[in-house]
């Protein structure tokens, strides 16, 4: 009885049924409907703006700055952890970029140094959380202040201009225009989204992320190295935050010491809007991707439909609350 023969069994065919599909992808379909619904409202309310390509180029130019960070952050949140320090990691990466450039005058070297610092800052977050058992929410509030403080100290009396990067290959690859129109940062967003999807759905690392977020004790019993996997997830957020910092700064050709401060809530909102559970174990890259575009479009839309910019936050809040309620409702229905 303990031998299992697989030969006599007809192969398992994944029969497609609409019901099964809806059940399996409920939250993703939910957020997609919210997205399409909002889009139709925007088009009806401000046809002059939303039927012309310019607004979409603008979205593709600005949304990736925070959307690319939302991808690894989704992975981290699925593992049941949180990171509030990534805006400061964006900035410390840029400080190291500038310092390295002053020293060696090499853009590529500066870029590599920025990514390395991001990787290190991520590792430090993970190390503090895993080694000392401190909740990541608390630990990363600490590192957020620490890195921002380091930025302010190190960036004193430094010229933040990045004009020298204009036209270099790195500039063209990161924030240039593909075929003269398509913003390269959008290409990077797609690349990072695809890589994150593969990592999460097609590697053991991803399988362990879901498992740790769902039942950490079970993961340990089954021989998963919880600590290592969580540290790796923090490192992913760190290195991508540094990349996002370089992209956002090259785009405006200037480094502001406050870099990243506006991105904290937008990035987190994208993740939760996309249906990732704050309790861990559940979440998708697709949901976050759509969530980021909803967040990015609201700001432009409120102005385009004739409301003042003051309305933006109110509408943000409303849509986030309603979507999160929708996700919680859908999740219960599917169980």
């Amino acid at each position: 009885m303990t031998t299992i023969e697989t030969t006599s069994i007809p192969p398992y065919k994944e029969t497609f049924s609409l019901r099964k599909f809806v059940r399996a992808n409920g939250t993703q379909l939910g957020i997609l409907s919210v997205f399409l619904g909002l889009w139709i409202i925007f088009i009806l309310a401000a046809p002059d703006t939303f039927t012309k390509p310019q607004i979409y180029y603008a979205f593709m130019s600005t949304i990736p700055f925070f959307a690319i960070m939302a991808m690894p952050l989704t992975i981290l949140v699925i593992a049941g952890e949180m990171d509030l320090s990534f805006p400061s990691i964006m900035a410390i990466g840029l400080v190291v970029f500038l310092l390295t450039y002053f020293q060696f005058a090499s853009i590529l070297l500066s870029f590599a140094a920025a990514l390395l610092v991001g990787l290190f800052a991520g590792w430090l977050n993970g190390f503090i959380v895993v080694r000392f058992g401190i909740p990541s929410l608390v630990a990363t509030i600490g590192t957020q202040f620490f890195w921002r403080g380091a930025v302010l100290v190190l960036a004193q009396n430094k010229n933040g201009s990045l004009a020298y990067a204009m036209g270099t290959p790195l500039y063209n690859i990161l924030v240039g225009k593909l075929f003269g129109v398509f913003p390269m940062q959008m290409v990077w967003l797609i690349v990072i989204a695809v890589l994150s999807w593969i990592l999460l759905n097609r590697t053991r690392f991803g399988a362990h992320i879901y498992l740790i977020g769902d039942n950490a004790e079970s993961a340990k019993l089954m021989g998963v190295n919880n600590g290592r996997v969580r540290i790796q997830a923090f490192m992913l957020v760190g290195v991508v935050a540094a990349l996002a910092g370089v992209i956002a700064s090259l785009h405006v050709k200037f480094f502001w010491p406050s870099l990243g401060e506006g991105y904290l809530l937008r990035t987190l909102a994208s993740v939760f809007l996309g249906g990732t559970s704050v309790f861990g174990g559940v979440g998708t890259i697709f949901g976050t991707f759509i969530g980021a575009f909803i967040i990015g479009a609201i700001e432009a839309a409120t102005v385009a439909v004739g409301l003042t910019g003051f309305w933006t936050q109110l509408i943000y809040g409303l849509i986030i609350i309603l979507s999160v309620i929708m996700h919680s409702f859908l999740r219960r229905r599917m169980e």
Binding site: T6, N201, A207, Y210, L221
Partner: protein, 251 residues
């Protein structure tokens, strides 16, 4: 022939608590050993040492006569130890196929998950070994929606699939219906028939007596005694268990 598993003078200390003291234990080939003991007697700690989850403070562990140092969970699994934990070891929000392959996902030659194969294998296991007939259950079903018996079935099938030599069952009848319990006990008898070994832990002395070849009684972190089930009557064993709970010795 060597024993499948031997523990020599194994002790485990947690802070100031002596959880296990000088445990000597062996598990033969083709043998089902029942572990009996009160709550906190040290049964679970002993099992977690065998599965590599805890490292012993002192003592030695042998698999098939070979001494093993620094036993870890992956190493124990490699050596053929598979554990059916109480149902808490399942990930409720994840699909059935993910639960079957927890911590040991199948990958293709490029190191990516072979999702199709894992679903296929899960489907085979479901129809052959788990006896899931409900059409609502498929490899993509979330384990959190399963009944207690179905969940235990998942944990057991996991052990079967990976072709374990030593199967450890930690309170496997907890939360099972009468019929499901019978199925489980039959399964444990089947382990012996298939030439494998098992350690069976249960609070219920009737269950243990029904399937075990030998019963080892653990009390306050020590081996208090052992009996061949052939040589002792159930009444006699129960009397001894009560006496040891009250006085700490059999006589």
């Amino acid at each position: 022939m060597e024993n499948r598993l031997e523990l020599h003078n194994v002790s485990k200390v947690f802070g100031e608590v002596q959880a296990l003291e000088d445990i000597d234990f062996h598990l033969g080939r083709n043998e089902v050993v029942g572990l009996l003991g009160d709550n906190g007697a040290g049964k679970s700690t002993m099992i977690k040492i065998v599965t590599g989850y805890h490292q012993p403070t002192s003592g030695e562990i042998y698999f098939d006569g070979q001494k093993v140092e620094h036993l870890t969970v992956p190493l124990a699994r490699q050596l053929g130890v598979e554990t059916v934990y109480q149902e808490r070891a399942l990930a409720d929000l994840q699909s059935l196929w993910r639960n079957i392959f927890l911590g040991r996902e199948l990958t293709n030659q490029y190191g990516f998950l072979d999702v199709k194969k894992m679903k296929q294998e899960t489907h085979s296991l479901m129809t052959q070994s788990m006896g899931f007939t409900s059409s609502a259950v498929n490899p993509d079903s979330k384990v959190g929606t399963f009944s207690g018996g179905e969940r235990q079935g998942v944990a057991i099938v996991r052990a079967l699939y990976f072709d374990a030599d030593i199967i450890i069952l930690d309170e496997p009848t907890m939360g099972l219906s009468l019929k499901e319990t019978q199925k489980l006990l039959n399964f444990v008898r089947g382990i012996r028939d298939a030439g494998k070994s098992a350690i069976f832990i249960d609070h219920n002395i009737f269950h243990v007596y029904a399937v075990a070849d030998r019963v080892v009684v653990i009390d306050r972190g020590r081996v208090a005694g052992e009996f061949m089930t052939k040589e002792i009557s159930l009444d006699n064993l129960m009397e001894k268990m009560i006496r040891i709970a009250e006085t700490g010795s059999f006589d």
